[in-house]
């Protein structure tokens, strides 16, 4: 039978006393911190946990944020993970270690886009919003050993109505889907880790790949599996709202239309515009660096180097993470190492398998053998670095590849970052077996048109122009909403990225009240 607790006035001392009677709870908080700028929000939320807990934090593969975390939580267990499987893969990796804990709170950062910021905030509020809320979870899990999962009520969704494209995989892996199951959208919850023991073997880390998809990947299957497993184990779920509801999933009522809830976040979306990166002086030009270079071979037209210099000036002294597709002999990577003196990662990728044999004195430089247009290359890249500030596509062997590389990696470009395509003469060629309409040139010109048209997605003519590209590519329209500018120079196409909410017309700003025309 389920139970309800309509009054939430119990104080901390009562909870401690009750938990003391029921047994000491060993608590862990597991945080996947992909967006490090959100760390202060989590620190503030952790203040509501007035019990001893162990903090596990997973970071991007290139992150240097561990020291900051240890400053705030000296005993925190911090680890860098490949940027694969989002928050789910790191959690699964830690699951064996979590078996010694009674209660685990699973959290993660979400991208700094309006509705996601709001979603994260309300989910966090539902899990860690106050001392009382935290104590509600701790007390409930201590009181009822059958509770396996708990979270904000609004975030608990009806499984059958939201299984989407994951149904087949779930059935294959977990058997028939029972009636009445549900799960927490977004995979943030309190849980009893023993119920999920062995899940890391069911979903080995290697099954996760790099992608920009919002559904249909193993992490989305696991998101649903958490709820399904609880039901199959005949355990209970706790829903937290103005009252507490604890029952078996078949007796709970999952949100039947998550899309409406998700859309509502947009209305309350907070505005957040990233500060422009600082511009500092650059002593040696790129041209001068190439001329003085004595490492691996690097050759380029002087005009091209000058154009690179112009478009990268703003990032010259920033701690950039750079990805270059097409590195030839590796000399370009060494040049970039010298150019970005404060750079953190210089990563190259090339179809020539000999590039994997390249060795570099500069430890920041790495090269891998892969075709950047291949989805598996991204999986390799994401194991090394999850987000970049500069991405250069210098390998346009076919128009189609340049589009594919852009669609693969632009989502992983940081806001304020630059995406550069070199080799216009190749890009101008029509796509193989197609017409000029599907050339990379046409695609990047299309980006300009999209930028110039507000609410473009509703305009049939633009959708019709995107359609020919969709037959060859999986295009997530969200990409277009974060393009800040597209610049064509004789040798380069430069696409700058910004946070989505920074775009658009914004509101009308008036300078004064005097006017002669109405």
């Amino acid at each position: 039978m389920g139970w309800r607790c309509g009054i939430k006035s119990h104080t901390y001392s009562i909870v401690v006393l009750t938990i003391g009677v029921l047994g000491v709870q060993k608590i862990a908080v597991v945080l996947h911190l992909f967006y490090e700028e959100q760390w202060p929000d989590f620190v503030a939320a952790f203040a509501n946990i007035r019990h001893t807990f162990t903090l596990f934090v997973s970071l991007r593969p290139e992150s240097e944020f561990a020291d900051q975390i240890r400053q705030d939580f000296p005993a925190a267990i911090v680890q860098r993970f490949p940027n694969l499987g989002r928050d789910v893969a790191p959690f699964l990796a830690w699951l064996p270690e979590l078996q010694s804990y009674d209660l685990v709170c699973k959290l993660h950062s979400k991208r700094s886009e309006g509705r996601h910021l709001v979603w994260r905030k309300v989910v966090m509020d539902g899990l860690l919003g106050s001392v009382e809320i935290v104590d509600d979870y701790i007390l409930a899990f201590a009181k009822d050993g059958d509770i396996a999962l708990g979270g904000a009520r609004f975030n608990y969704v009806d499984g059958a109505g939201h299984v989407t494209v994951c149904g087949r995989a779930l059935r294959l892996q977990h058997g028939a889907l029972p009636k009445g199951w549900g799960f927490f959208a977004g995979t943030m919850f309190w849980c009893r880790p023993q119920v999920f023991a062995g899940l890391e073997q069911t979903y080995p880390l290697a099954c996760f790949s790099a992608h920009g998809d919002t559904d249909g990947q193993p992490e989305h299957v696991v998101e649903r599996a958490f709820g399904l497993i609880v039901m199959q184990a005949n355990k209970k779920i706790m829903l937290h709202d103005t009252e507490i509801l604890v029952d078996h999933p078949s007796q709970l009522y999952g949100n039947p239309n998550w899309a409406d809830t998700y859309d509502a976040f947009q209305e309350g979306a907070a505005q957040k515009i990233d500060d422009a990166p600082a511009v500092l002086g650059a002593p040696l030009s790129l041209l001068q660096l190439v001329q003085a270079h004595d490492g691996y071979v690097c050759g380029s037209w002087s005009g091209t180097l000058i154009q690179y210099d112009q478009c990268l000036q703003g990032l010259r002294h920033a701690p950039v993470r750079l990805l270059q597709a097409g590195i030839q002999n590796g000399g370009a990577l060494e040049i970039w190492g010298k150019y970005f003196t404060n750079g953190r990662i210089i990563l190259g990728c090339d179809t020539d398998q000999r590039c994997a044999e390249l060795t570099f004195e500069d430890a920041r430089i790495k090269a891998i053998h892969a075709d950047a247009a291949s989805p598996y290359a991204k999986t390799k890249v994401m194991k090394i670095c999850g987000q970049f500030d500069v991405i250069i596509d210098n390998s346009p062997s076919a128009a189609r590849d340049s589009i594919a590389v852009f669609l693969h990696y632009f989502p992983n470009l940081n806001a304020g970052g630059v995406y550069i395509v070199e080799g216009l003469q190749n890009l101008a060629a029509p796509a193989q077996g197609g017409s000029d309409d599907t050339s990379a040139h046409a695609f990047f010109r299309l980006l300009c048109d999209i930028l110039q048209r507000p609410e473009w997605a509703n305009q049939p003519d633009l959708c019709a122009r995107i359609a020919p590209f969709e037959s060859a590519h999986d295009i997530d329209f969200a990409i277009f909403r974060s393009v800040q500018s597209v610049e064509f120079t004789p040798a380069l196409i430069t696409i700058r990225k910004t946070a989505m909410q920074a775009l658009g017309q914004g509101s009308m700003v008036w300078s004064d009240r005097k006017a002669i025309a109405p």
């Binding site: 309509g6 294959l172 069911t202 390799k380 999986d474």
Partner: protein, 512 residues
């Protein structure tokens, strides 16, 4: 053992066979990343992604494989994935590209047959299936496609031939049985079709196609009265007019009051009209009108509170949150101590003297536990036609498998029709094993005796009254439809969070 060696030893297939699909996926992924991207590593991955239904990934992998090597089976894989993603045209293009490489590839030919069946291009489906069978006469998927295509083209003898062949081989028995239902129906053998469809429904309670097949066959049979009665007599479940009870009983003189419970979730306009007719037409028989607010908006709650004003017999209670129809009914029942109660949907309009008529029927026999009126929109309790015609996009009309609905009348029209209905001599009580839950009058002691509504099995309704009916029948109680009482029902005006179809299927599964 290296991942390449594990692949060679068939570990991936073992994982798949043992239900460890993601372990197989991980193995294929590791092999690709370690061995490198080649046709074998990519297609192996694509195949597992396809099996798992990770279609977007599978599509990319098949496309990648085709970039490495133009291969017929890779085209088959890509075509199949595109088809599953709903892009039938692109799927067909991929399959045809494969066929250009291997014109006699039976996988591609049968896939194209399936694709054209889906597109309702039955002639092309027939052609591709025939081509596949000319290459391999024992190709079972092609045989199934051929049977379907012949059936849709009206070639019943040929369709029968291929169906018999499939039955002999035991290939996809459920799907083939559905075809059998269809063909028997078309061959004017609805009785046999009904038997097979009923078996399919029993074995696959969630398969709506089986229910549709049953309804189609039943609809055909009911149009042949003699055969219908003979068939039903054979099953010993039929009723004849002679078996119906005539409600000769006078209005009971017990002056008992009846409580009316109305669960409400928004739909304020309908609620208002419903309450208006209940108050106007229940006379002295009405005990308490119990309105149960089940998670409505604040505006609705405010309006409901206004409805109570000046009506001492009306009670407004609330569930803690939106909790489903059955829970709301139980919340209302907790307020009732009447000897009998009505559960009434909020999207109904009740006629004059409705409560007296229903109560007379309820007290017409000592074992009568529940009665329900006729309606414009209560499935088997509909007046007029029960089944609707299906109207196709081109205006063509065919025998349908849906229940008939009639529009919700304006109040004046409702009163006029109700008076006509009452004057048609429809004082017959029709015994039924199951009553529709839109409006039921239930004897409280009988209700308590069988344990009442099953909240755990039907928290949201859609099956709770059917379940209660079956338990009443099993306990020896009688249930009747009251033919001289017509309650109008809009249906779908409330509890719309999930589609009624989904809830019905869920409820049907639980009942079975």
């Amino acid at each position: 053992m290296s991942h390449a060696a594990q692949i060679k030893s068939g570990q991936g297939d073992i994982d798949l066979a043992q239900g460890q699909a993601f372990a197989a996926l991980a193995l294929a992924m590791r092999d690709l990343l370690e061995t490198g991207e080649n046709f074998d590593t990519v297609t192996r991955l694509a195949r597992i992604e396809s099996i798992l239904g990770l279609n977007l990934r599978a599509k990319r992998s098949w496309q990648r494989a085709l970039k490495i090597k133009k291969d017929a089976l890779a085209y088959a894989g890509l075509g199949s994935v595109l088809f599953q993603m709903g892009d039938a045209a692109a799927g067909n293009m991929a399959l045809n590209a494969g066929l250009a490489l291997e014109p006699e590839n039976t996988v591609l030919l049968s896939s194209l047959a399936v694709s054209h069946l889906y597109l309702q291009d039955f002639i092309s489906a027939q052609r591709y299936a025939a081509q596949a069978l000319s290459v391999d006469p024992d190709h079972l998927e092609a045989t199934l496609c051929r049977a379907k295509a012949e059936l849709m083209l009206g070639n019943l003898a040929l369709a029968s031939f291929y169906i018999d062949k499939l039955l002999q081989k035991g290939y996809k028995p459920k799907e083939v049985s559905l075809l059998q239902v269809d063909i028997l129906h078309r061959q004017d053998q609805p009785e046999a079709a009904l038997f097979i469809a009923a078996t399919l429904c029993d074995e696959n309670p969630n398969a709506f196609e089986a229910i549709k097949g049953f309804r189609r066959a039943f609809r055909t049979l009911i149009k042949k009265p003699a055969r219908y009665m003979e068939f039903m007599d054979g099953l010993d479940i039929a009723w004849r007019p002679a078996r119906a009870r005539v409600a000769t009983c006078a209005l009971p003189a017990d002056h008992a009051k009846i409580d009316v419970i109305i669960p409400i979730h928004n739909a304020l306009n309908q609620v208002e009209a419903c309450i208006q007719t209940v108050r106007a037409h229940s006379a002295e028989r009405l005990g308490r009108l119990i309105l149960v607010n089940d998670g409505s908006t604040p505006q609705t709650v405010e309006a409901l509170a206004d409805f109570i004003g000046g009506h001492a017999d009306t009670v407004l209670v609330h569930t803690l949150r939106r909790s489903g129809f059955t829970n709301a009914v139980l919340r209302g029942l907790a307020e009732s101590d009447a000897p009998a109660f009505v559960v009434l949907n909020s999207d109904t309009l009740v006629p004059e003297r409705w409560l007296d008529k229903l109560y007379s029927a309820l007290r017409s026999g000592a074992k009568t536990a529940m009665v329900s009126p006729m309606s414009n929109n209560a499935v088997w309790q509909n007046y007029g036609p029960v089944f609707a015609d299906d109207v196709f996009a081109d205006g063509d009309v065919a025998d349908g498998d849906s229940f008939c609905t009639a529009p919700f009348p304006v109040l004046q029209e409702h009163f006029r029709l109700a008076r006509i209905g009452a004057g048609m001599g429809g004082d017959t009580l029709v015994p039924l094993p199951i009553l529709h839950g839109f409006c039921i009058l239930v004897d409280r002691s009988a209700y308590d005796a069988v344990g009442g509504f099953d909240l755990s099995a039907y928290p949201e309704g859609y099956g709770e009254t059917q379940d209660l009916s079956l338990r009443f029948t099993k306990a020896g109680y009688d249930l009747f439809v009251v033919t001289d009482c017509i309650v109008y029902h809009e249906r779908g005006g409330e509890y719309l969070a999930k589609t009624p179809r989904k809830l019905e299927q869920c409820g049907a599964a639980k009942a079975i």
